[in-house]
């Protein structure tokens, strides 16, 4: 009598991919957390000045948005040059970051940076880093 060589009937276990999916998604979450900067609505509306040689930075706060016409918003709140110092408070931040449109007149920018009531704040212009295009 011949013996059946087949192994006893058992259901084949399918591999579970859910742990792998969780790992990949977690890595993506970490990627966006590290490389991304949270932006408020309207902060991406201005066309920033472009630079190619400066090191990369994250989008810092407090952020003063200045559009091409000179209208300003501090972290999403509309301000004027006269009310800006009051909105920054008595404990002025060490630096104020300017998200200025590249078409904004230099006179308006200079008038803002030289205001006596903002003399205690160091102003930094945020630019958009562009890759240098290699010439053929």
């Amino acid at each position: 009598m011949r013996k059946a060589r087949l192994s006893p009937n058992h259901t084949r276990q399918r591999p579970d991919f859910s742990l792998a999916i969780v790992n990949i998604v977690l890595l993506l979450v970490f990627f966006f957390l590290i490389t991304g900067s949270l932006v408020q609505q309207g902060e991406t509306s201005v066309d920033l000045a472009a630079t190619t040689e400066l090191p990369l930075e994250r989008l810092p706060r407090p952020l003063l948005l200045v559009d091409a016409q000179g209208a300003m918003a501090l972290d999403g709140v509309a301000v004027t040059a006269d009310t800006l110092a009051g909105l920054l408070g008595p404990q002025m931040p060490e630096a104020l970051y300017l998200l200025a449109d590249k078409g904004l007149s230099a006179d308006l920018l200079m008038a803002l940076t030289t205001r006596p009531d903002l003399a205690a704040v160091s102003m930094r212009l945020i630019t958009l880093h562009e890759r240098r295009v290699a010439l053929p």
């Binding site: 979450v29 920018l109 205690a120």
Partner: protein, 155 residues
């Protein structure tokens, strides 16, 4: 004693039920986080240019008095004065496009540490200021001063 036809269910001796670790809710939460960060963040690479130096201690109490060092200009040997217009710089009677600015910086540095004064004209924009400050900063010109309110025409 149970009678004929009745079944006895023994709850004690039943096989232990195994509860598996469900990963689906975890994966769902991860996807929610991922979608949130993808939609709310920007991956645009930014750079920073310092327009004003850090305020010295006690400067906030000046209440509008002008800084003496901000208005006094040293007549050093290597003083360079540029009038910045849209897309170009004028130095004396020489006009240079901003693209060619990088080429003349080594010559300035060869004469010693230059002290660059920039007068933005009415036609100059934020992009022009950013370009000039980037070119000078990247090539090691540390002393650059922007003169505000010059109201110089041109460009």
């Amino acid at each position: 004693m149970p009678g004929p036809g009745t079944k006895t269910i023994n709850l004690q001796q039943g096989t232990r039920r195994r509860y598996g670790f469900a990963l689906t809710p975890l994966a769902d939460a991860m996807f929610q986080l991922l979608i949130f960060f993808m939609l709310s963040s920007t991956l645009s690479p930014f750079s920073l240019i310092a327009l004003t130096a850090g305020a010295p201690p006690g400067q906030s109490e000046l209440q509008g008095k002008p800084q003496p060092e901000a208005v006094a200009i040293d007549a050093s040997d290597n003083l360079v004065i540029w009038h910045l217009s849209r897309g170009q710089v004028r130095s004396g009677d020489q006009v240079l496009p901003l693209d060619a600015l990088a080429a003349i910086v080594p010559a300035l540095l060869a004469k010693g540490t230059p002290d660059v004064l920039i007068y933005p004209t009415r036609s100059a924009t934020v992009q022009d200021i950013a370009t000039v400050l980037e070119v000078l900063g990247a090539r090691g010109v540390a002393k650059v001063r922007l003169i505000a309110g010059s109201q110089v025409g041109g460009g």
